[in-house]
């Protein structure tokens, strides 16, 4: 997946119920342009930065976010590869379960395989 698609996906995970109008207000990008970017159109550098900034701001509202980032940095330096693998597995499972539960709106460029 391209970097810009990843950014959009993370943005949509963080703000799943946000309307195009709200996304436009948050990022300062025109509403029609936001719609196109959600469709997977290539981004300009300033647009990528605007989405990254919104993501960082959104995550910083969670007080445990910086704590987790700090602990992960320490863990990366101290723990063995095997221990890190176990932590990664644990996080992955928590994230997957959350994805099942959350009525997560996929970016428009992602096709869903529905049986």
């Amino acid at each position: 997946m391209r970097l810009e698609n990843k950014i959009i996906e993370r943005y949509r995970q963080l703000f799943p119920k946000e309307t195009l109008k709200e996304s436009s207000a948050r990022t300062g990008i025109q509403i029609t342009r936001v719609y196109r970017l959600f469709l997977g159109k290539p981004m300009k550098v300033h647009e990528l930065e605007a989405f990254e900034k919104a993501i960082n701001e959104g995550m910083s509202t969670n007080p445990n976010h910086s704590r987790l980032t700090y602990v992960l940095e320490e863990a990366s330096a101290l723990l063995t590869n095997e221990e890190l693998g176990k932590l990664a597995d644990y996080f992955e499972r928590r994230v997957e379960n959350k994805k099942f539960v959350r009525s997560y709106i996929r970016p428009l460029f992602q096709e869903t395989n529905i049986a």
Partner: protein, 159 residues
């Protein structure tokens, strides 16, 4: 290795060897509608489930690699931990005891015999009620014991 989430396992256990409709899976599992739908979709994408004439069944041609990923030791351990954690985090109707117990050799033997009785009781109870009690109404039961010193060493080594 992602393994299989406890939620995914519940859906697979509901289906078992049968062909079930979405509504039947929903009833058996007790999952919320959107969660059940998302899980089924994820399992189909992973090639574990397939859909035939509106009914879901487990794919019989799952690759050995995928089988190992789903049923391997690490995956089962992670799944058990997930459920044990859920029991610990329950804030009502919770039964959980965790104690460091001093037991002499004789009492250790008695305790192990009691555990063995408990296991056969649970096996019989399960066989008796299996057909009438849907998966969502079953209980999670776990037990275990270990010596403290080797476990402390294990923790120091980083498991």
């Amino acid at each position: 290795m992602r393994g299989l989430s406890s939620l995914e396992r519940v859906v697979l256990e509901c289906i078992g060897n049968q062909h079930l409709s979405y509504e039947e899976i929903l009833f058996q599992s007790g999952l919320q509608e959107n969660v059940c739908f998302n899980i089924i979709q994820a399992l189909i994408i992973r090639g574990v489930l397939k859909s035939v004439k509106g009914q879901y069944l487990i794919n019989e041609n799952i690759s050995p690699l995928m089988m190992e990923e789903m049923n391997g030791l690490e995956a089962r351990k992670a799944e058990s931990l997930e459920l044990m954690e859920a029991v610990l985090e329950k804030d009502y109707d919770k039964i959980f005891r965790f104690q460091k117990v001093a037991m002499d050799e004789r009492d250790t033997k008695i305790f192990k015999a009691m555990l063995s009785n408990l296991e056969s009781f649970l096996k019989d109870a399960h066989q008796k009620a299996e057909k009438n009690i849907p998966l969502k109404n079953r209980h999670i039961v776990f037990w275990g014991m270990g010596e403290l010193l080797p476990m402390m060493n294990q923790i120091m080594k980083g498991n």
